[in-house]
Amino acid sequence: MPFTHTLQVIGHRTIDAVWRIGLATRFFALTLMYSGTSFRRFHLIIKELFSTGVMSLIIIIVAGLFVGMVLGLQGYETLQRYGSESALGVMVALGLVRELGPVVAALLFASRAGSAMTAEIGLMKATEQISAMEMMAVNPIARIVAPRFWAGVISMPLLAAMFSAVGVFGGYFVGVIQIGVDEGSFWSQMQAAVDFREDILNGVLKSFVFGTVVTVIALFEGFDAPPTAEGVSGATTRTVVTSSLAILMLDFVLTAIMFRGN
């Protein structure tokens, strides 16, 4: 009976997905509960900040520069048709600060740092390091998960801010230096249109949410991975796919809440 079999598979997958969501929520709650210990041992967070934040710097800065340059080029092409190329700065800055900065930085972060986190924890589990810790009465969530979680949450807004800042200069480079848009109107219109609270702080808030979601997904997938080579590779793939989709969907929801009516 192929039909009932298909139905069974769908049902099984649905129940499994709901089960995992529940597990992930409990995992998130446990991480928050044991965060106090990791804040008392701050050097653990510093170490993770290095491997998630500092090591992602290059990719974020290069990507931000090129995204800003493309925005400058494409924005100019469209705006000059209406004779309003002086609004190029506004377009580049708003696009970066509101959307592209948080979203693209989070996508890069998920594939650069999130996948590494999953693989690391998955391998720890496969080589029974986590069981060894439990044996020694060390809580693996407090020792391994919580520092990585806070490192991700702290570094994500900083990375997104750098992405936007570098991107604005990329747009400036292409728009003003190469194409020759008026420098004064580029900056002054940008400053007139970009509001600190409305645009910049909302962008920071967005990247904060993305940072939380990406690290929770990455850590949970690692912790939940079957302790085999195949299991770890599958978990790493799932981290990138799930967190990318989560970022894009959440972005829509957050944008609808933050910028509606503007």
């Binding site: 290095f50 800042a165 400053q191």
Partner: protein
């Protein structure tokens, strides 16, 4: 506590991130631009404000002197009541004109103040009596068509 190069890198990372945020706030955003320290409030009635929005700029001779703070419909006069905050440094005579103007052909609307000749200055809470409403493009086209039609009838 011993210092490691790792700490240094993390420090650089955090400082760079905060610097980027400050740069966004100052250079890209409007946190630094034109902070009015002391203001006084005046208001004016307009029969049509067009596309004027709160936070629109108020300019005199092209210089930014204030911001629109509030726009509401006055239910006695059925006219728009526009409240504006002006910088204390700039004092205007009582018979100042307030016009709603458009920057560029399709740009955003702002209020232009043209000073009159009165020796008394506007005080906090007072009203600018001489106003000119926004030019609504549809009205303008309507008038133009009406005039054209009149012209084509007259010669006969």
């Amino acid at each position: 506590m011993e210092r490691t190069t790792l700490d240094l890198w993390v420090g650089i990372f955090v400082v760079a991130g905060i610097a980027a945020l400050v740069m966004l706030a100052m250079k890209v955003g409007n946190l630094s631009s034109y902070n009015m320290s002391e203001t006084y409030q005046v208001h004016a009635y307009f029969s049509n404000i067009g596309g004027l929005k709160p936070k629109a700029s108020i300019k005199s001779a092209g210089v930014l002197v204030g911001r629109v703070t509030d726009i509401k419909l006055d239910m006695q006069r059925y006219e728009a009541d526009v409240v504006m905050n002006l910088d204390k440094r700039y004092q205007f005579p009582k018979d100042t004109f307030a016009d709603i103007l458009t920057s560029g052909l399709l740009g955003e609307q702002y209020i232009g103040l043209v000073a009159g000749g009165d020796s008394d200055m506007l005080q906090n809470g007072e009203q600018i009596k001489k106003t000119q409403s926004a030019v609504v493009l549809e009205d303008l086209i309507g008038k133009f068509i009406y005039n054209k039609a009149e012209e084509s009838v007259k010669p006969k």
